[in-house]
């Protein structure tokens, strides 16, 4: 058989394979026939009454894991701090109640990350049409910060009403930045900038970071 004939056979085989794959894949994560419309609508209405988009309810099943993850993160940071600190007596550290301090450290680190990201976003936004590569980088960065922000929201760090409000406002902005595409319209960036200004997110983050933490490297 010549090359042309072989190619035709390959094409037919590929087509058969793709058809079979599509048929079989229709059962992948098959949704139920009945959509829980009313239950979801009730939750949406309740979420709107709270005045802001509700963070994902993943916390229902994963809250203990989220809390553990935040503690691991914070303890790691804490260990780093202890190892570079020469003035703090090392013996005093292990007896300090670990959990509240751990969450406070994790929150501060998270806010420092968010501050750096939003500052970078503002700098990019000031360019006339934005920078596509920078947008892609910011979106990827925002997704990382967003994940950790949600972990914090679902941890005891989110129990304080003021801190929670700040983290939820931050979450909203991060969702928008994470969705930035390389060809994002100027209006998309403007909408984010508007949300930032409207909720005064960056000034509130700066105010929430302890002054002695502003020099901590990221």
């Amino acid at each position: 058989m010549n090359d042309h004939g072989n190619r035709e056979n390959d094409d037919v085989a590929d087509e058969k394979w793709n058809d079979a794959l599509r048929d079989l894949a229709r059962d992948y994560n098959q949704p139920p026939m009945i959509v829980p419309r009313e239950a979801m609508w009730a939750a949406i209405v309740a979420g709107q009454r709270r005045g802001r988009p509700r963070i994902l309810q993943i916390s229902r099943r994963f809250a203990p894991l989220a809390a553990a993850a935040v503690i691991v993160l914070a303890v790691g940071i804490g260990i780093g701090r202890v190892s570079i600190s020469t003035r703090t007596p090392i013996a005093a550290k292990p007896t300090t109640p670990a959990v509240p301090e751990a969450y406070a450290i994790a929150t501060t680190q998270q806010l420092l990350q968010a501050q750096a990201l939003l500052t970078a976003f503002n700098a990019n936004d000031r360019q006339a049409a934005g920078d596509a590569k920078a947008d892609a980088h910011l979106a990827s960065w925002a997704r990382d910060v967003l994940s950790n922000t949600r972990l914090l929201l679902d941890s005891p760090a989110g129990a304080d009403p003021h801190r929670r409000q700040l983290l939820e406002d931050l979450e909203l902005v991060l969702v928008q930045i994470a969705a930035l595409s390389p060809d994002a319209a100027t209006s998309d960036r403007a909408a984010i900038a508007h949300t930032l200004d409207d909720a005064q997110v960056l000034p509130r983050i700066k105010a929430a970071i302890p002054t002695n933490q502003n020099q901590v490297g990221l």
């Binding site: 992948y28 994902l56 989220a66 993850a69 994940s147």
Partner: protein, 180 residues
């Protein structure tokens, strides 16, 4: 009522219009969320969050795309972000990840082809999986996928092709009986 009129009524604070918008789109948004999540609770959460965010930011919707496309953009973003969070938590929960459960072929131990395919789809890189689920499972066109994901339709086609190739490799030992 067309989308523009419905949006105008929602923005004017008409709760019935909000519900009408929700009714018109919820099934497809939920369906896609479920396909991504494979879990009823997560699909509900993703769908709810999608609509809450959509209603909150409807005023900034520029109407350059259809309302459905815009809603699906939010929905996909919410679902993917949510799944990333879940994945991270699960990775922290599981100290040793069993590669076999992520779709690698284990000849002879998985008689169910559909189950094997499901695992292989789960194991695809996020971009490939997203396009594969939207195109081959839910029937979106490459143009629709491009708009929803903010990528070129050509990129969507390329990712689908790579996804299929990976699945073909993962299920190679089934291929003979499958397409015979």
């Amino acid at each position: 009522m067309n989308d523009d009129a419905l949006i105008d009524r929602v923005l004017a604070g008409d709760p019935a219009a909000q519900r009408a918008l929700y009714d018109a789109h919820v099934d497809r948004v939920y369906r896609l969320a479920y396909r991504f999540a494979g879990d009823a609770d997560l699909a509900r959460d993703f769908t709810q969050d999608t609509f809450i965010k959509a209603f909150a930011s409807l005023g900034s919707f520029k109407r350059r795309s259809s309302l459905s496309t815009w809603l699906h953009s939010i929905g996909v973003s919410v679902a993917l972000n949510g799944l990333r969070s879940v994945r991270r938590l699960r990775e922290r929960e599981t100290t040793a990840v069993d590669e076999a459960t992520l779709g690698a072929v284990r000849v002879g131990s998985e008689p169910d082809l559909k189950e094997r395919l499901a695992r292989a789809i789960d194991a695809l890189p996020e971009g490939y999986r997203t396009v594969f689920v939207m195109h081959d499972v839910e029937g979106y066109t490459h143009e629709e996928i491009g708009v929803v994901l903010g990528i070129e339709s050509g990129t969507s086609k390329a990712q689908l092709s790579r996804a299929r190739a990976k699945l073909r490799t993962a299920l190679a030992d089934f291929a003979g009986e499958w397409i015979a």
